[in-house]
């Protein structure tokens, strides 16, 4: 099971497992923040670590709370290692890597839900088999939330309610997750009683 303990949640929320080495002719690792530790654990379990690394392409970005384990990632010695400053900056390269992947490629997604969700969306849009994707959550539980009213996405939401970074409405974070959008749903909290916004609580860290 995932190393992150989530509170009991709802059916549209993804379930995360532990990364396991699988036979493949290429291994694409997409990670952010503490996902570097899951990658280290994955390699420790590999039957032939050197062979796996020789077929591995790592795309890594620091986590949303500042965790940057690039130095450790770099020293693993994968065939290709790449550091992006943010997930958004990683996406163009990820799109190219995914579009050129062949059947038999194994994908390992690890780190925050925002990273996992956006990477999974890119992979699924190419039609590659769902079974070739493994996901393990590590690190921050900050959420990526789409405002249901203006459709803008606010990254790294910690507070509930929070202010939409696009339209300015106060939103509560609904436990409803869209894999197509790779985001939770945010709904105006004071729609029925405008101005009555409860104090924000830090729900996600």
């Amino acid at each position: 099971m995932s190393k992150t303990i989530f509170p009991p949640s709802i059916k549209s929320r993804p379930v995360y497992a532990t990364l396991e080495p699988r036979p493949g002719n290429a291994h694409v690792v997409i990670a952010d923040g503490e996902g570097a530790e899951a990658l280290a654990d994955l390699l420790a379990k590999a039957p032939d670590r050197a062979a796996m690394l020789a077929q591995m392409h790592i795309l890594y970005a620091p986590g949303p709370t500042g965790t940057d384990q690039w130095a450790a990632v770099q020293t693993l010695g994968a065939a290709q290692s790449y550091r992006a400053p943010t997930i958004a900056a990683m996406l163009p390269r990820l799109t190219k890597v995914v579009s050129e992947a062949h059947m038999g490629t194994q994908f390992y997604l690890t780190g925050t839900e925002g990273l996992i969700g956006q990477a999974e969306r890119e992979i699924m849009m190419t039609g590659l088999p769902f079974a070739a994707i493994q996901k393990e959550h590590r690190g921050s539980t900050l959420r990526r939330v789409q405002c249901v009213h203006c459709k803008g996405i606010t990254e790294n939401v910690a507070l509930d309610p929070f202010v939409c970074s696009h339209c300015g409405l106060s939103l509560y974070v609904r436990d409803h997750y869209s894999r197509r959008i790779a985001a939770f749903q945010g709904v105006n909290i004071d729609a029925e009683d405008p101005g009555l916004v409860p104090a924000a609580v830090e729900r996600f860290k």
Partner: protein, 356 residues
């Protein structure tokens, strides 16, 4: 090419609004055929599906797709919703064939069931569709998108009351990959499109634990072409607002705080969804129709049995259901208003207004 309406209301169809001045109301005949959803004095979630076969003459179950006095005005309201927000109608690229299946199902059904309003002439794939209430007379080529002003699902559902979603079947699940959703009870097609059956039902309380969705999915995967099924759902809506979308919640949310004992009878509506599911022949997709009927409390209590029963159902409902359906804040006021129509007499089983 466009889909401009040239409505012909005649004596039957009403000119009314579901926004701004809210002139919608039901005629006495419409009240008498209102699909009151409670067959007993209490309510809990269940897999309440039955064959969608022709029911009592004059009832909403008589025809495959019920066309009633609100048809023309509902279609005008839908066109306004889509002009304001085109994301209410979406179809993922692989769903076009299912859209043609749906177009055929509705055109065939309505031309058969309502020959005075709809005609369909087929010469191979050259089809001629006439919709007299909306003033549409259109020749097109079946399965050729370039001969329609919209995709096939959007074209036909701009002319059909009720919301529609189209479910692709794969991996032992149903995926909501297309829909026309403008009369929804507070859910977002734009957010949910592409989800599977369990994912889009995720926010519903209590029912998952009762295995309602596991059993419903198993049942639906066995659905056969030509043997549609139906069920009821319901909620509460303040004002006759068909388009209670999450997108516009900041606009209509404040009306929930506007109820008083004096205006509740005319402003508070029981919103009933008659949902039907059809297996489609070419695509193997499942079409889901969600037809919303609005009934004002003051209209419903003209049937004594419904007044008694609605009072008891709302008084005793599980608080999680009242919260999920979004009427918890007004539940005490509704129960207070309805109490005067409940004399404590027993009610007969079933939802028909008679016998009491």
């Amino acid at each position: 090419m466009s889909l401009d309406f040239k409505p012909e209301l005649g004596d039957f169809f009403k000119d009314e609004t579901f926004r701004d001045d809210f002139t919608f109301k039901n005629s006495p005949a419409a009240i008498a055929r209102f699909p009151f959803p409670f067959d007993r004095d209490d309510y809990m979630y269940s897999v309440n599906m039955e064959p969608h076969i022709s029911g009592r003459p004059g009832s909403v179950f008589e025809k495959t797709f019920d066309v009633d006095e609100h048809y023309v005005s509902e279609m005008i309201d839908r066109a306004k919703v889509l002009a304001e927000d085109p994301l209410r109608c979406q179809s993922l690229p692989h769903m076009t064939l299912a859209g043609w299946d749906l177009l055929e199902l509705i055109m065939d059904s309505n031309a058969r069931d309502y020959p005075q309003w709809f005609s369909l002439h087929k010469n191979g794939n050259q089809w001629h569709w006439i919709n007299r209430p909306l003033g549409i007379d259109h020749k097109f080529t079946f399965l050729d998108e370039s001969t329609l002003p919209y995709g096939p699902m959007e074209y036909i559902t701009r002319q059909t009351q009720g919301d529609f979603s189209l479910q692709d079947e794969r991996d032992g699940n149903l995926w909501m990959d297309a829909g026309m959703i403008t009369t929804q009870a507070d859910w977002s097609l734009d957010f949910d499109v592409g989800m599977n059956f369990m994912e889009w039902h995720a926010p519903v309380p209590l029912a998952h634990e009762k295995q309602v969705f596991d059993r419903a999915l198993k049942f639906l995967l066995k659905l056969q072409n030509g043997s549609p099924v139906r069920r009821f759902n319901w909620t509460m809506t303040v004002n006759p607002l068909l388009d209670t979308a999450p997108e516009t919640y900041p606009k209509w949310g404040p009306t929930k705080a506007s109820l008083t004992q004096d205006n509740l009878g005319s402003k508070q509506h029981l919103r009933v969804e008659l949902q039907a599911l059809f297996r489609l022949p070419r695509s193997n997709a499942i079409a889901f129709s969600i037809r919303a009927y609005l009934g004002k409390f003051e209209e419903l209590v003209t049937m004594p049995k419904w007044g008694r029963r609605l009072h008891r159902v709302l008084r005793d409902i599980h608080p999680d259901i009242a919260a999920y359906k979004g009427f918890a804040r007004n539940q005490p006021a509704m129960v207070e208003w309805l109490a005067k129509y409940d004399d404590g007499k027993p009610t007969s089983p079933g939802w028909w207004p008679t016998p009491e």
